[in-house]
C-alpha cells in the first residue's frame, strides 16, 4: 500500500468516524460509509476504524462479516444487483441470474477477472411491480428479460449493438 493511499484512508476514516462520534452504536453506519467510499471494506480501513473508535478489531470484523451488505473483497467498477425477492422470483428472476452468470462467466458475489463488473443477488429492493428487476450502479432496470440484459451488458462493456428489432426495445 502506497503511503499516499494510506493517508487518504486515514483522512477518510477520520471524517467518517467524526461525523457520528466514536460511539459503538455508530459502527454499522461507519462501515456503510467506508464501503460506500471504497466499494468494499479494506482491511487497513477497518484497523484504522478500530483505533479511532477505540474498539477491538475482532468486534469490527465480526460485525463486518455478519451483515450481508458488507464485502471484504473489492467489488467491480460497475456493480449489478439482481433482485431475487419473492415477486421477482415468481416472475423468473432465476432466469436472469443464470444467464448473467453465463454471460459474465462469474457466479453471484464475484467480480470479473478484469475487475470491471461484479454482481450479486439481493433479497428484495421493494419495487416489485417492476420485476424481474436489476440495478446497474443503483439505476433501476425493470421488467428484465435476457435480451434486454444482453443489451445492458453490451452497453456496460462499451459496445453498441444495432437494435434491428424495434419490438425488443424497452417496455
Amino acid at each position: 500500500m502506497s503511503p499516499q493511499r494510506l493517508l487518504d484512508i486515514e483522512q477518510a476514516i477520520t471524517t467518517i468516524v467524526n461525523s457520528y462520534g466514536a460511539k459503538p452504536q455508530a459502527l454499522i453506519m461507519v462501515l456503510q460509509d467506508i464501503q460506500k467510499r471504497y466499494h468494499y471494506l479494506p482491511m487497513d480501513a477497518l484497523k484504522l476504524a478500530a483505533t479511532k473508535m477505540n474498539m477491538p478489531i475482532a468486534q469490527i470484523y465480526g460485525v463486518a462479516t455478519f451483515y450481508k451488505a458488507f464485502s471484504l473483497t473489492p467489488k467491480g467498477r460497475r456493480h449489478i444487483c439482481v433482485c431475487t425477492g419473492t415477486a421477482c422470483h415468481v416472475r423468473q428472476a432465476k432466469v436472469i441470474v443464470d444467464n448473467l452468470e453465463l454471460m459474465l462467466g462469474i457466479k453471484a458475489r464475484e467480480t470479473t477477472a478484469d475487475g470491471e463488473i461484479s454482481f450479486e443477488t439481493v433479497n428484495c429492493l421493494g419495487t416489485c411491480a417492476m420485476g424481474p428487476l436489476i440495478t446497474v450502479d443503483d439505476v433501476y432496470h425493470g421488467n428484465m428479460n435476457v435480451t434486454k440484459l444482453g443489451k445492458i451488458l453490451n452497453e456496460l462493456k462499451g459496445k453498441t449493438q444495432s437494435t434491428d428489432d424495434p419490438e425488443l426495445s424497452d417496455e
Partner: protein, 669 residues
C-alpha cells in the same frame, strides 16, 4: 418556515394560514414519486412539466408537486391534475406539452392517458373511479396525493401534528387507554396489542426508556413501510412522538434498511424539519415534554427485523436475537425498557388520536381493527400498494382490486406473511388437489372443495388457514409457479439469513434445503416428506426466536395444500408447473409464429428456424435456462416433462401451418 412553534396555538395559526395561502382552485400537477416512480422517470417528468410551464409563462400559476407513492405501481408514473382530479397513467415526459395545452389551458382531459377498464373499455377520469382504488379504504394513504414528503408544511396543512397537540393535553395513561380501546395490533407481523405493549413499557422500571420504529422491512415482496416513509414520513414521526409521550420516553430510534436510500433521505430530512419547527426537541409545544429521534441504517440482515436482534444491531453489535425470558419492554436497548413498533403501527397512532378509539374500532373485524396495507405483487394485473379494511376477502383483493392474473393464466396460490408465512391455495377446482387435501385431512371426504377466495383477510383467519398476516406482502402465483420450488426458495432464503446462533434453525434449515433440493431434482423419496414434517415440528418447538420458529411455515403450508405437487416430483419425476430445471424439457409447439424473438436470448444457440417458420429447440443443446419461455409472446414454448420435448416438437412439425402474415405482425406489435 423556520419559525419554531412555541405553543399549540402557533400550530393552529400556521395550519390556518397554510390553508388560506394555498389559493383555492390553484391548478396543481401532482406526480407520483417514490422509488418506483423515480425508477420509471418521475423526476424527468417533473422537469419536463416545469420547463413546459415556464415556456407557457404559467410557472407562477401552476404548481408541480412530486409526492410519494400513490400505490398503483403497475401504471407509474401517475399524474393528477388538481383541482379537477383528473387521473393520468403511464405519463411520459413527451406528454407534458399535451397535458398543459389540453388540460391546463383548455380544461379538457387527454383521453389517451386516462385509465381504461380492460374489460368494458370505458375510460374513467378520477382516481376514485379506477377499480383499483374503488374498493380500498385509504386512511394512512389518505393524503398521499397532497403531500410533498420533503415539505413539512404540506403535512401540517392537511392537519398534521394536530393529533400531537391533542395528545399532549391528555394524561399519558389516558392516551394509552385510548390506543388500547382502539384495538390497534402491531402491523409488523406479530399482531400484539399496541396499547398493551405501551402500558407494560410505561410501567417497566428503569430510565431512560426508548421508543423504536422498526423500518427494517426485510420480507421479500413487501414494501409498504418504504412507501409510508417515502411518502408521508411525518405521520410516522408524529406517531412516535405521541407514543414516546405516552410511555415516558425522551429518545427514539428509527432502524431503517440501508437498501432504501430514498426512504432514509426523506426520513432524515423530515426529522430535521420537525426539529426546526420545535415538534421534536425540548419542551415540545410548551408541554414540558422533550423527545428526539435518531436514524440508524441497518446492515441488511433479515434477522434484524426481530426485535431483540434489531436492538443488538442498534447497539452496533452483531444482529443476533436473544431468548425473551425478559421482554424488551422491560429490558431492551442497552437493557432499558424499549417499546418497538413497526412503521405502519406508528402511522396509525395519529389517526386514532384524531378520530377516536371508537371510530378506529368500527373498522375491521372483531379482533383485527383498522386497515392494513398490502403489497400486492407477483402474477397479478394491478401490482401495487393497497390499503384495505381488515376482513376484506381475498376475492375482492385479487379480482376487484388486483384485476386478476395476466395473460389469462390460472390463479394458483397466494403467499402471505413473507418467508415466515404460508402459501395458500385459492382455487380447489382441480380434483387432484382436492383429493390430496382430503387425503391430508384438510377436507372431509364429503365436503365440497373449499375456496379460500372468500377467506376474510385478518390476523386470525390467515393464521387459521395456515399462513399469517406478516408485514403485508401478498404474492400472487399462477400456474407457472411450482409450489415445491416456492418452498425451496423460502427455505433457501431463510437458510442464508439464519444468524446461526441456535442449532435447530442453523442446521434444521440446511437439512430442509437439502431435502427439498433433492425433491426438486427428482431424487426425492417418500420418506423425505415425513422427515420434513418432523424436522418442522422440532424447529417450531425449539428455535430461539420467532423467525426460526416460523421458518418451517413455507414447507408446512405447501405440504398442506399442494402435497400433490410434491408427489409428482417424487413419484413421477415431473414438475407440474415446469419450473424445476432438472425435470423439464423446453419445446416449441405448433402455435409458433416464427417471430425470431426467442433466438437472440438463447445462450447456447439451441433454437433454430427461419423467420415465419416453425422454430425448433435442439434438445441436446438446451440447458433449460428458460430465457425463451420468458420472452415468447405467444406462449409457444412449452415446459414439459424431461425427455418429452422431442415428442412435442415432432407433433408441432406435423400440425404447424404458416401464420397469416397480417395477424402475426399485428399480434407481435
Amino acid at each position: 418556515m423556520s419559525k419554531k412553534l412555541q405553543t399549540t396555538d402557533d400550530l393552529q395559526r400556521l395550519q390556518a394560514s397554510l390553508i388560506t395561502n394555498q389559493g383555492l382552485g390553484k391548478q396543481t400537477i401532482i406526480i407520483s414519486g417514490g422509488t418506483c416512480g423515480f425508477a420509471r422517470g418521475s423526476s424527468e417528468l417533473a422537469a419536463a412539466f416545469r420547463e413546459e410551464l415556464q415556456q407557457s409563462n404559467l410557472g407562477q400559476e401552476v404548481e408541480v408537486k412530486l409526492t410519494g407513492c400513490l400505490g398503483f405501481c403497475e401504471r407509474e408514473p401517475i399524474v393528477m391534475i388538481m383541482p379537477q382530479g383528473l387521473f393520468y397513467i403511464e405519463v411520459k415526459p413527451a406528454d407534458a406539452k399535451l397535458i398543459i395545452t389540453q388540460t391546463i389551458k383548455g380544461g379538457q382531459p387527454v383521453p389517451k392517458l386516462l385509465y381504461r377498464d380492460p374489460i368494458t373499455k370505458q375510460s374513467v377520469q378520477t382516481m376514485a373511479q379506477v377499480p383499483f382504488y374503488a374498493k380500498q379504504k385509504r386512511l394512512l394513504f389518505q393524503h398521499s396525493d397532497q403531500i410533498d414528503p420533503l415539505e413539512i408544511s404540506d403535512y401540517i396543512r392537511v392537519g398534521g401534528y394536530k393529533s400531537l397537540a391533542k395528545a399532549l393535553l391528555l394524561a399519558p395513561t389516558d392516551l394509552i387507554e385510548l390506543v388500547r380501546k382502539s384495538g390497534l395490533r402491531g402491523r409488523g407481523g406479530g399482531g400484539f396489542l399496541t396499547g398493551k405493549k405501551w402500558a407494560t413499557c410505561r410501567r417497566a422500571h428503569g430510565e431512560p426508556k426508548y421508543v423504536i420504529c422498526n423500518a427494517d422491512e426485510g420480507d421479500p415482496g413487501a414494501f409498504m413501510d418504504r412507501a409510508l416513509l417515502e411518502g408521508n414520513p411525518h405521520s410516522v414521526i408524529e406517531g412516535m412522538i405521541i407514543g414516546a409521550y405516552a410511555i415516558g420516553s425522551d429518545k427514539g430510534f428509527v432502524y431503517v434498511r440501508n437498501e432504501y436510500p430514498l426512504a432514509v433521505k426523506v426520513l432524515v430530512h423530515a426529522i430535521s424539519e420537525a426539529r426546526e419547527m420545535g415538534l421534536i426537541g425540548d419542551n415540545i409545544l410548551n408541554s414540558g415534554f422533550s423527545f428526539d429521534i435518531e436514524v440508524s441504517r441497518g446492515g441488511g440482515a433479515f434477522v434484524c427485523g426481530e426485535s431483540t436482534a434489531l436492538m443488538a444491531s442498534l447497539e452496533g453489535k452483531i444482529g443476533e436475537p436473544r431468548a425473551k425470558y425478559i421482554h424488551t419492554v422491560e429490558a431492551g436497548l442497552w437493557d432499558k425498557p424499549s417499546n418497538l413498533n413497526n412503521v405502519e403501527t406508528w402511522a396509525n397512532v395519529p389517526l386514532i388520536v384524531e378520530k377516536g378509539a371508537d371510530w378506529f374500532a368500527s373498522i375491521g373485524t372483531e379482533n383485527s381493527k383498522g386497515t392494513k396495507i398490502f403489497a400486492l405483487t407477483g402474477k397479478v394485473n394491478n401490482t401495487g400498494l393497497i390499503e384495505v379494511p381488515m376482513g376484506i376477502t381475498l376475492r375482492e383483493i385479487l379480482y376487484d382490486i388486483g384485476g386478476g392474473v395476466p395473460r389469462n393464466k390460472r390463479f394458483k396460490a397466494v403467499q402471505t406473511g413473507g418467508p415466515s408465512g404460508g402459501t395458500l391455495i385459492v382455487e380447489t377446482s382441480e380434483p387432484r388437489i382436492r383429493d390430496s387435501m382430503v387425503a391430508h385431512g384438510v377436507l372431509a371426504g364429503d365436503e365440497e372443495a373449499v375456496s379460500l377466495l372468500d377467506l376474510p383477510v385478518d390476523f386470525d383467519e390467515l393464521t387459521k388457514a395456515g399462513s399469517m398476516m406478516g408485514s403485508g406482502g401478498m404474492i400472487v402465483m399462477d400456474q407457472d409457479s411450482c409450489m415445491v420450488d416456492v418452498a425451496k426458495y423460502f427455505i433457501n432464503f431463510l437458510q442464508e439469513e439464519s444468524c446461526g446462533k441456535c442449532l435447530p434453525c442453523r442446521e434444521g434449515l440446511r437439512t430442509m434445503l437439502d431435502l427439498i433440493t433433492r425433491i426438486c431434482d427428482g431424487k426425492g423419496e417418500m420418506k423425505d416428506l415425513d422427515t420434513l414434517e418432523e424436522l418442522s415440528q422440532v424447529m417450531i418447538d425449539t428455535c430461539l426466536c420467532q423467525l426460526g420458529g416460523s421458518a418451517p411455515n413455507p414447507v408446512l403450508s405447501t405440504l398442506r395444500y399442494f402435497r400433490q405437487e410434491y408427489l409428482a416430483h417424487i413419484k413421477e419425476h415431473r414438475c407440474p408447473a415446469g419450473v424445476c430445471k432438472e425435470l423439464v424439457s423446453h419445446a416449441i409447439d405448433e402455435t409458433c409464429t416464427g417471430c425470431h424473438l426467442c433466438l437472440k436470448p438463447c445462450p447456447t444457440e439451441a433454437i433454430t428456424g427461419k423467420l415465419r417458420e416453425l422454430h425448433v429447440i435442439d434438445q441436446a443443446k438446451c440447458i433449460q435456462c428458460g430465457a425463451c419461455y420468458q420472452i415468447c409472446k405467444f406462449d409457444s414454448i412449452r415446459r414439459v416433462k424431461r425427455g418429452e420435448g422431442e415428442l412435442i416438437q415432432q407433433r408441432a412439425k406435423e400440425k404447424w401451418a404458416p401464420p397469416l402474415k397480417k395477424s402475426a405482425a399485428s399480434a407481435a406489435a
